[in-house]
Symmetry: C2
Subunit: 355 residues, 2 copies
Amino acid sequence: MTIIRMEKDITIYDIARELDLSPTTISRALNDHPAVNKNTKQRIADAAAQMGYRSNLFASNLRKQRTNTIGVIVPRLNSPFMSSVISGMEKMANEAGYNLIISQSLETLQKEMANAKTMFDSRVDGLLVSLSYETDQIEHFENFINRGIPVIFYDRVAEHRDCTSIVIDNLQAAYKATSHLIEQGCRNIVHITGNLKRNVYTDRLKGYKYALVDHDLAYDDANVLINNLSEEAGEQAAKQILDMKTLPDGIFVSNDTCAVSCIKTLKQAGISVPKDMAVVGFNNDTISRVIEPNLTTINYPGQEMGEMAVRVLLLQMNGTEERAPSNTITLRSELIIRDSSLKSKVSPKQRVVLI
Amino acid sequence: MTIIRMEKDITIYDIARELDLSPTTISRALNDHPAVNKNTKQRIADAAAQMGYRSNLFASNLRKQRTNTIGVIVPRLNSPFMSSVISGMEKMANEAGYNLIISQSLETLQKEMANAKTMFDSRVDGLLVSLSYETDQIEHFENFINRGIPVIFYDRVAEHRDCTSIVIDNLQAAYKATSHLIEQGCRNIVHITGNLKRNVYTDRLKGYKYALVDHDLAYDDANVLINNLSEEAGEQAAKQILDMKTLPDGIFVSNDTCAVSCIKTLKQAGISVPKDMAVVGFNNDTISRVIEPNLTTINYPGQEMGEMAVRVLLLQMNGTEERAPSNTITLRSELIIRDSSLKSKVSPKQRVVLI
DNA sequence: GTGAAAGCGCTAACAT
DNA sequence: ATGTTAGCGCTTTCAC
């Protein structure tokens, strides 16, 4: 039988013994405490490096009662939007010396609650959440709030007195998108969107509705299709549209994935986009610039949203005890006009509309 | 001045006092130790739930010297392939009760080394790595290996006696892709690929080369374009191709992003795909089914790769002290033939080629 | 089946 | 500028 010889971990006590100093001084020096002599610091740093010391975060966390860890709960990881968000979060967190623990709810309330519990037990210093489709109560975050652990919602948010939300102006975005379709001559516009439990979809529905009303067009529930905005759902929706007694002349879809598969199906059925039906998507995923015709869409700054979420969280974690004054942070987005919605000529300058 | 009253954490001592038992028994009961009376266990579980107890992972980790955490180092988070991988990892890890700490190297060696250090200091129980473009030495993982912390490479792997690698057969995939182009009548094929420091790209280059040779076609360095496979790089590459003295009749690109932007640029220049140039991509990202013509590509099972990576890691972390016998695990992939490469008719049955 | 005691490695009061 | 001491909450001998 072989015994694998494993290197033993070096502690501050080992360094202390080596340099004939107290563990306290070692600890202070390693944390760059001002009250330690420069030379001593250097000696300690050298010894630490030479001896292969690594700090034990668990001992430190146990003692300090904080973890330098941010929890992220996300509906799904593998969408272009969400991976941009996560990428932004990771970048910011990393710069600030924080770790990220990420888990996905897979759009179910049950997993979201389980994830929240894990995060709680992992004692994250703060939590970033985008809600699942199903979620209709947010009591599972009360634990955090009661103990003063900041919770921030982003994208799919909930109203909570003590929580900041980070969003784009979904209502405005949808309003601008729909108005754009109307300006292009559409008079009968279908809206495809997601579960109305989620703010993003209710707000977009409102924007769609208000735009119609403001342009003296009738709003009709029958023109609103609700699904999960997946590729399959897009195909499905296209078929529903093709079955309508009067075909619409415009479609506003709540994400690009669904919009693109919808366009593909419509084209296969002989519908010309934008001539017969103009289409607008949402998110500005890569596919929007690949589909033909290129998809008019809302540019949703995922990376920025991720960065902002962490930035605000850091402020709340390290700032004063007071709650942040502003409860909602709205990021800028924009309508990017491409060929899928253009029935008339538009100069390149007018192809971006700020929201 | 207001004092925010914060709920205090309940410890096993609190429960012990409450039930007039020792902390030891509480600890054992909560960990389902067999030597604790069933009734006592139940009483303790009830009390814990009622008092709102949560275990302190840091104290536990400090004591047990393990963390239930898996570290993941990834070049970039926001690619469709990588987010599938991560999604698979998260799913598996979560099921096994492990947390994931994720960081991105942003394709630089320097960040990769920094990330490795953070992971090391966070005392992850195991590490999953896909190498950055730049990485040309892997000493920064020796720390882990020396202490018996398993390191697994996936996708962009390195040779290491003690580390398992998880890959697809890149050589075969490229061979099949190139052969397919040749079978479609291509005689002058360009290959666009990434940094040859990475196995994935060298192997694909080899597969391309061998396919040419086996079909009695000349290999020419001038037909190999190396770039970072980004959207911009695709545009750039297309321009280079258009400038060639004799235009190629086929292109094999090492990812879909680059292949798609290449096709877009070629089409704008009046080249017909596949008639003038047949194109094959790699990854089977969503865009491959959106571009017109739909892109022939290699289906790369990201989600599965992520799941497999965690599964193997769990085995190594919890299994015997011995190293896993197999050093490389190769996942199945497949060539999916679509219109971008089809100059002749092919029956639907022949549209998928296993690799 | 249960308990007493020690210690994982670190940091923060409180000295000096 | 440095040291002493205590304790964060848990698990693990060892004892009964």
